[in-house]
């Protein structure tokens, strides 16, 4: 196949650019573990509110002091709809839905995940101090645009601690396979 010189240069340039994209993605994904929320765990959506993992909802700390937030989405509210967490601290959100698919989006941050009934989503990120709107970003019905919450991020020194104890470990309902 006879390819024009300029076209060859263009194609090598394009190939080089793609190699750069490949490399930067691979380095940050594998090296730094920057990954989109990809937790694999299932749950019965009809019984999510009484499941030990989601029976109590809110902010809690694990044995190592890690900060966690447990949230359930349902038409058209987040439970709880207001949480307070410390700044510059990794916060892990655990979410599920009792009805349709929702999207948990902490506005103007990289914190978001789909919340699909039957599955448990996990999301870890950290925040600068401030007030954040939490929106539902997956259409869930006529009240979709009203499904919102608030995240208050306070300086770590001013944080008054978790609002609840860590949830009981799941009773054989944990299907994290990966």
């Amino acid at each position: 196949m006879n390819v024009d010189l300029y076209e060859k240069i263009w194609m090598y340039g394009t190939g080089g650019m793609l190699a750069l994209f490949f490399g930067s993605t691979a380095v940050s994904a594998v090296g730094k573990q920057f990954q989109p929320p990809s937790h694999v765990e299932t749950i019965n959506p009809a019984r999510a509110l009484s499941d030990p993992r989601f029976a109590r909802r809110g902010v809690w700390q694990d044995d190592q002091g890690g900060v966690h937030v447990t949230v359930v989405g349902m038409m058209f509210v987040w439970l709880p709809d207001h949480v307070t967490v410390p700044a510059e601290t990794p916060v892990t959100f655990h979410l599920t839905s009792t009805d349709v698919t929702h999207g948990y989006q902490i506005v103007r941050t990289n914190g978001q995940t789909m919340v699909i009934p039957g599955y448990v989503s996990q999301l870890t990120t950290q925040f600068a101090p401030g007030e954040y709107l939490i929106a539902c970003n997956e259409y869930c019905g006529l009240g979709h645009h009203a499904m919102a919450g608030r995240l208050t991020v306070v300086p770590a020194a001013e944080w008054t601690g978790p609002g609840m104890a860590a949830p009981a470990p799941a009773e054989g309902g944990d299907h994290a396979a990966h």
Partner: protein
């Protein structure tokens, strides 16, 4: 009128009517963005209109126009269709499907948006209707593949035309990827909506949808590429710069379009990160043929500009026939696609996606791609093909000349601000941006008004297009029209090119299947190993 022309025009009729209704539905959304209080404005009306707009534009207008274009290409290749009656059966099935789905949507029984994610549950007529559209399109695929084979046989060691090559590659790609959505419809959604099964697995449905959903965008784009490669250089007064590479481009799309769907599901639970990463790499590869196309098409129109007497580094641009509706529409579509392509690379980025997923950025993005690169090129294509198929001259030519420029302006006003509000965290598909006065939401307001103005400009442009089409089709002056002619390749060897490796579509199809088995086979198998809990249907609309 020749029989194939009649069939193609029937498909164009459905496309134009669907386009008109869909454009009217978009006004409802523009008004919502402007926060105007009108009596008919309600959340119920808004979400219905988003569903109707998405389904009628993205699935009906595109598919019917692409089928028409395919019939025209195949007929020009062989002088006839292989199975003309099957073409009419395809038309009948698909049109029946459109009527069923449109009835369900417009009577508020299916406000599930065009992605129809369960457990939102629509009326069965919605799912059955869309399935009929797909089944109809499979008959069209059969015609395209048989026409391609007939042309290959007739020409011995010569390749088929680039237009036929691209059309056949697209048809094969479509047949393959629609297996995903057909499985979703037939095994999950239709039995579930009829009450034959109680629950569906929402994540499995999403995986099957996006198996289809990303190749779907190439199914839209490839016919626009066919027109840019084979018609635009000719109409602009030049030649096609690099014919053999065009053949490679369509084959690369056939191979890499499908194993990329997880980049729409980056934020989904239940799919492990490594598989998302693999799909990210395939997604990057699929940008390669588009970037090659950018070079070839630009080089071809530069050849045209210089043949028309353009001088200097940029002087050839002014010499292009900007008053030719098809040429203007295609060139403006390409400019908007340039921006849309950059945005697409960001959407597909493994980490950056967290910032833009399901925000206004997304509909800003795809209005530049399917809404401009594809829709504007098709509108331009309609100005070219409809007179040649109907034997009637194009009427209201001044309106056809300004319509692409209005679309361009409207799209700039609509799509660019949506990218900004998206980066500012505004979700997509929301009736109101108010959020009880939250400070972060108030920051979006001034910018959303711009998108509302853009929406109105786009509607005016759409109305002009529909008007030109209806007047031409119904009342156009009958007079002999020039024949359809594809661009000649620049620097073609004496006696023409020989058929080569890139012309062996059957072989490349096998490669495509292998890649998809790798990218989807294991994740799906793994998915079925988990204990899964289905969902009953919900109808909150």
């Amino acid at each position: 009128m020749r029989p194939t022309d009649r069939l193609a025009l029937a498909n164009i009729w459905v496309a134009v009517l669907a386009f008109g209704v869909a454009a009217a539905m978009a006004v409802m959304q523009a008004i919502s963005r402007a926060n105007l209080e009108l009596p008919f404005r309600s959340s119920r009306m808004y979400y219905m209109s988003v569903t109707a707009h998405g389904v009628l534009m993205a699935l009906v207008f595109t598919t019917f126009f692409i089928m028409a274009l395919g019939y025209v290409t195949a007929d020009k290749e062989n002088g006839k269709l292989q199975l003309p009656r099957v073409g009419w059966a395809a038309f009948g099935l698909a049109t029946t499907g459109v009527v069923l789905a449109a009835w369900a949507i417009l009577t508020f029984k299916a406000s599930v948006l065009y992605t129809f994610y369960p457990p939102l549950q629509a009326h069965p007529a919605f799912y059955i209707g869309l399935t009929l559209v797909v089944v109809g399109s499979w008959l069209w695929v059969l015609e395209m593949v048989l026409s391609w084979r007939a042309a290959r046989k007739a020409r011995a060691d010569r390749p088929v035309s680039l237009a036929m090559h691209g059309t056949a590659a697209n048809a094969i790609l479509w047949a393959f990827c629609t297996l995903g959505v057909a499985a979703e419809m037939l095994f999950l959604l239709i039995p579930w909506s009829l009450g034959l099964v109680k629950t569906v697995d929402p994540l499995l449905a999403r995986m099957l949808f996006w198996f289809f959903g990303h190749p779907l965008v190439y199914f839209w784009v490839l016919p626009a590429y066919v027109l840019w490669y084979t018609l635009l250089p000719k109409e602009a007064g030049g030649k096609l710069f690099s014919e053999p590479l065009g053949r490679m481009v369509f084959v690369l799309f056939l191979i890499f379009s499908t194993p990329v769907g997880f980049h729409h599901q980056f934020q989904d639970p239940g799919i492990s990160a490594n598989w998302k990463l693999l799909h990210t790499f395939f997604t990057m590869i699929i940008s390669f043929p588009s970037l090659v196309t950018a070079f070839t098409v630009c080089a071809s129109i530069e050849v045209a500009g210089r043949l028309r007497g353009g001088q200097g580094l940029f002087g050839w641009i002014r010499r292009l026939p900007w008053g030719n509706p098809f040429v203007a529409a295609s060139l403006l579509a390409m400019l908007l696609f340039l921006v849309g392509g950059f945005g697409g690379a960001i959407n597909a980025a493994y980490m950056l996606n967290s910032v833009v997923h399901n925000t206004a950025w997304i509909h800003g993005h795809f209005h530049l791609t399917v809404g401009s690169a594809v829709a504007l090129t098709f509108m331009g294509g309609a100005y070219y093909f409809v007179p040649r198929l109907s034997g009637r001259r194009l009427e209201l030519v001044p309106l056809a000349r300004i319509q692409p420029y209005l679309w361009f302006l409207g799209m700039l006003l609509f799509a660019l601000p949506n990218h900004f509000t998206g980066l500012m965290g505004m979700p997509r598909r929301i009736f109101s941006t108010d959020y009880a006065g939250a400070a972060q939401a108030q920051a979006w307001e001034a910018i959303t008004s711009l998108t509302a103005i853009g929406g109105i400009v786009l509607f005016v442009s759409a109305a002009l297009f529909v008007q030109v089409m209806l007047v031409t089709l119904l009342m156009g002056q009958k007079e002999p029209q020039p024949p359809i002619a594809w661009a000649e390749p620049l620097g073609e060897p004496a006696g023409g090119y020989k058929a080569g490796l890139w012309d062996r579509l059957g072989f490349w199809f096998v490669i495509a299947v292998v890649l998809v088995l790798i990218a989807y086979g294991y994740p799906l198998w793994d998915h079925f190993q988990m204990e899964r809990f289905g969902s009953p249907g919900f109808k909150p609309f």
